[in-house]
């Protein structure tokens, strides 16, 4: 069995979870004053995620550090903010990454192999002044690195032989961070909007307020200047606001919104940033899809949003207004509305 201290460092490990299970604490137990420390620390983890994007490691009191992790997961689940889920998982994964960087190669390898089933071998090769300590099967490498954008993570720029990619120690822990982020994301994505006993719920509500206060600064709330949201047709406004609020959108709605934003003149990079900041889609894949819709890839056709009638069929048409009656396409709505808005601005008397 794993030691309490190890479990406190890496509470997402299955053995750590088993340790917690053995303590057999109920929600009501946690509400008892003796466990206030655990609740404090759990709240601390979540607010660190909100405010800094990175949780600290308080290993002085192992048991509190360990128990606060499942409680923090519960807080996140109760908060039910998709955007925060992602930020929290990353925050905890970065915490683990920093701890892993102080571990021996053998410890790193053990976690990668037993917890995440990586096909990983220890090596020692000095090449180009870099010390390579691991060889990882390309399958596990791509599973984690394919989303990274820097050239050094492209497979073509790696040293690969016989299916194995050479990695330095920090590179390996960086890939593990990605794996851990997904693991934690999986731990919190179930049972939304759960209601907790009062002393716990009070903390959740407090965290909710902290999140609201910081929502715009961390969700990249500032909007592009050249796209006028006021000109959006109701359906696109609904989709856009839903996206910002972290509501899960269907494929049709996402496609319609993306192609609408592209055709309305929003910059691809900004769309990617927007989508990545508010969803848990990984950046490179999002970019790939958006570039595809923009006609920069594949068939090179630039897609336009579907017509109103198609959107209606797929339930994407929401709250149509009087202007909707005059148009058959969300883009025509936008063009007319924009002219109206611009016209009014010009009509204003000069100061």
């Amino acid at each position: 069995m794993i030691s309490e201290r190890e479990a406190a460092k890496y509470p997402f490990l299955s053995e750590a979870a088993r340790l917690v299970d053995m303590l057999d604490l109920t929600l009501d137990d946690l509400a008892e004053p003796v466990h206030a420390k655990v609740l404090d620390r759990a709240e601390g983890r979540v607010s660190e995620a909100i405010l800094k994007g990175k949780a600290s490691a308080n290993l002085g009191d192992s048991l509190t550090e360990l128990l606060s992790f499942p409680v923090a997961n519960m807080f996140i689940t109760a908060l039910g903010e998709r955007f925060l889920d992602r930020r929290y998982a990353l925050s905890e994964a970065v915490r683990a990454y920093e701890l892993l960087n102080d571990e021996s190669e053998a410890r790193v390898a053990k976690m990668a192999r037993t917890e995440f089933q990586w096909d990983l071998r220890l090596v020692r090769e000095l090449l180009d002044g870099r010390l390579y300590r691991f060889e990882l099967h390309f399958n596990d490498f791509l599973g984690n690195a394919a989303a990274f954008r820097e050239p050094k993570w492209k497979l073509v720029n790696r040293l690969m032989r016989d299916g194995y990619v050479l990695l330095t120690n920090p590179e390996t822990t960086r890939l593990l961070q990605e794996e851990i982020r997904r693991r934690i994301g999986g731990l919190i994505s179930k049972h939304r909007g759960l209601r907790l006993p009062e002393p716990l719920q009070a903390r959740v509500d407090r965290l909710g307020r902290t999140f609201e206060e910081n929502r715009s600064s961390i969700t990249g709330g500032d909007l592009p200047t050249d796209v006028l949201v006021e000109g959006f047709p109701p359906c696109m406004r609904y989709a856009f606001e839903g996206l910002m609020a972290g509501r899960r959108a269907g494929h049709m709605e996402r496609f319609a919104l993306t192609s609408f934003l592209i055709n309305a003149g929003m910059d691809i990079d900004e769309i990617v940033k927007l989508f990545v900041s508010v969803t848990d889609f990984d950046e490179q894949f999002t970019r790939y899809q958006i570039e595809h819709i923009a006609g920069l890839r594949g068939g090179r056709t630039r897609y336009t949003p579907p017509s109103c009638s198609t959107l209606r069929t797929h339930g994407v048409c929401h709250n149509p207004d009087s202007l909707c009656k005059r148009v058959k396409h969300p883009l025509s709505y936008y063009r007319i509305k924009i002219q109206d808005i611009r016209g009014k601005q010009e009509d204003k008397p000069a100061e």
């Binding site: 090769e125 000095l126 090449l127 180009d128 002044g129 870099r130 010390l131 099967h137 390309f138 399958n139 791509l142 599973g143 690195a145 394919a146 989303a147 050239p151 050094k152 492209k154 497979l155 073509v156 720029n157 790696r158 040293l159 690969m160 032989r161 016989d162 299916g163 194995y164 990984d282 490179q284 894949f285 790939y288 594949g298």
Partner: protein
């Protein structure tokens, strides 16, 4: 219609029917057939009939005998319910598939046998169609694509380069995990079937495509970095490390001053490169790429490398590999545009494999046909043509090929 259509569809369909009646036992079920989707094209030209599933080889063969399709495909993907509509199929994984088609590269022989005609103004030319019509500026063309031993050799060469990368760099085991099929027309398909690739998502497959094509290769990570010292760097030959240096060597050794100037390196860099050509080649030969940076700046090396690696990379169709729902031709079935077989080629035999004798399905006897127009046709060691609006008697293989290409009709 009074006059029979070019291609004599009825006749060809009947030949396909007979072929399947006699030879269907050679068609094997792909692995995990119950998880595969099948798709077919028929001679009646009603579009793709897909979302079809089979329990075993027997049912599949019955289908081929009953319908004798003009083209037969199966999914590289594995589904829970292959017959369900796309969104309900339940994707479980997919083989990693590569498509090499001579149509995607430029080879001199295409100037001899391929033609295009502008749909708008009727302007004509040879080879691949231009970006836009020199006559009217529009970009809609009717293409007439043929093939010859050179195209097929070129495609095979690309397939061999691809196999080298898959075996050496990715470590796939030939035969057990890797199979090669002649496509039945102008190219080859390479299939990787292994647990390690089955679950790869599109993003990961795209990285593999980039690797194979050398896309995004960066000189800094191929040893051309002066900042890093220490350890082994001289003898490294594996993967792109070795390939990129060889590519650069070949390119610099062969490049004429004009070619170098056209790269956009900038005058000074180009001059320096040409002046120090021998020294640079020496350094590359000794595999001291790091020292090359003294003579050519890293940025220029990057530009050179981007062009140079094309020769070492394999020309695969990027869309096919990244599409995880792709339908691909089933081996030992007929290709409706050639009358040849899609055929598995043992990897060890690939070097000597000649599709123009091995994959020809219709042989024996002769046929009287009326040919609209065709270049020289070389099949199974016999050459006929070129033809221009003429009636002639040809061996069955040549006649069927021209009919499948819709360049002839059976003479009454």
């Amino acid at each position: 219609m009074v006059e029979q259509d070019w291609g004599s569809v009825q006749f060809v369909a009947e030949q396909f029917r007979r072929y399947y009646a006699l030879n269907v036992s050679s068609v094997e079920a792909p692995s995990e057939i119950r998880q595969r989707e099948f798709g077919f094209l028929s001679f009646e030209d009603r579009g793709m009939f897909r979302h079809k599933g089979f329990d075993d080889a027997q049912h599949l063969r019955h289908y081929l005998v009953d319908y004798a399709p003009s083209h037969t495909y199966y999914s590289s993907a594995y589904y829970e319910a292959p017959e369900a509509a796309m969104e309900f199929k339940g994707w479980q994984g997919a083989d990693l598939v590569f498509d090499i088609d001579a149509d995607h590269f430029s080879i001199p022989c295409q100037e001899d046998h391929d033609r295009w005609r502008c749909r708008t103004c009727g302007e004509e030319g040879t080879g691949h169609p231009p970006e836009s019509c020199p006559g009217c500026g529009k970009a809609a063309f009717i293409e007439e694509n043929w093939l010859c031993p050179q195209c097929l050799e070129a495609a095979k060469y690309e397939a061999q380069k691809l196999l080298d990368i898959l075996i050496q760099d990715f470590g796939f085991t030939p035969s057990r995990e890797l199979t090669v099929n002649f496509s039945g027309n102008r190219g080859y398909h390479v299939h990787v079937r292994s647990a390690s690739v089955k679950k790869l998502n599109q993003l990961a497959r795209r990285e593999i495509v980039d690797y194979i094509m050398g896309t995004g290769i960066n000189a800094e990570f191929q040893g051309f970095n002066q900042g890093l010292r220490g350890g082994r760097y001289i003898s490294l030959q594996e993967g792109w490390r070795g390939r990129s240096v060889r590519a650069l060597y070949d390119f610099i050794a062969d490049a004429s001053p004009e070619v170098v100037e056209d790269l956009g390196l900038g005058k000074a860099a180009a001059r320096k490169l040409l002046k120090n050509r021998e020294t640079i080649l020496g350094l590359l030969m000794e595999r001291r790429p790091r020292n090359v940076v003294k003579y050519v700046d890293l940025k220029s090396i990057g530009m050179l490398m981007e062009v140079a690696v094309q020769e070492q990379a394999a020309a695969i169709d990027t869309v096919v590999t990244t599409d995880i729902h792709r339908l691909i031709r089933l081996p030992n079935t007929l290709h409706g545009k050639s009358g040849w077989l899609t055929q598995e080629v043992p990897i060890d035999d690939l070097a000597d494999y000649d599709p123009l004798s091995s994959a020809v399905a219709f042989t024996g006897g002769t046929l009287n046909i009326h040919i609209k127009r065709a270049p020289e046709i070389f099949i199974a060691g016999e050459t006929y043509g070129p033809f221009e609006d003429e009636r002639t008697e040809l061996p069955m293989a040549h006649a069927m090929f021209l009919l499948c290409r819709k360049a002839a009709k059976v003479a009454s």
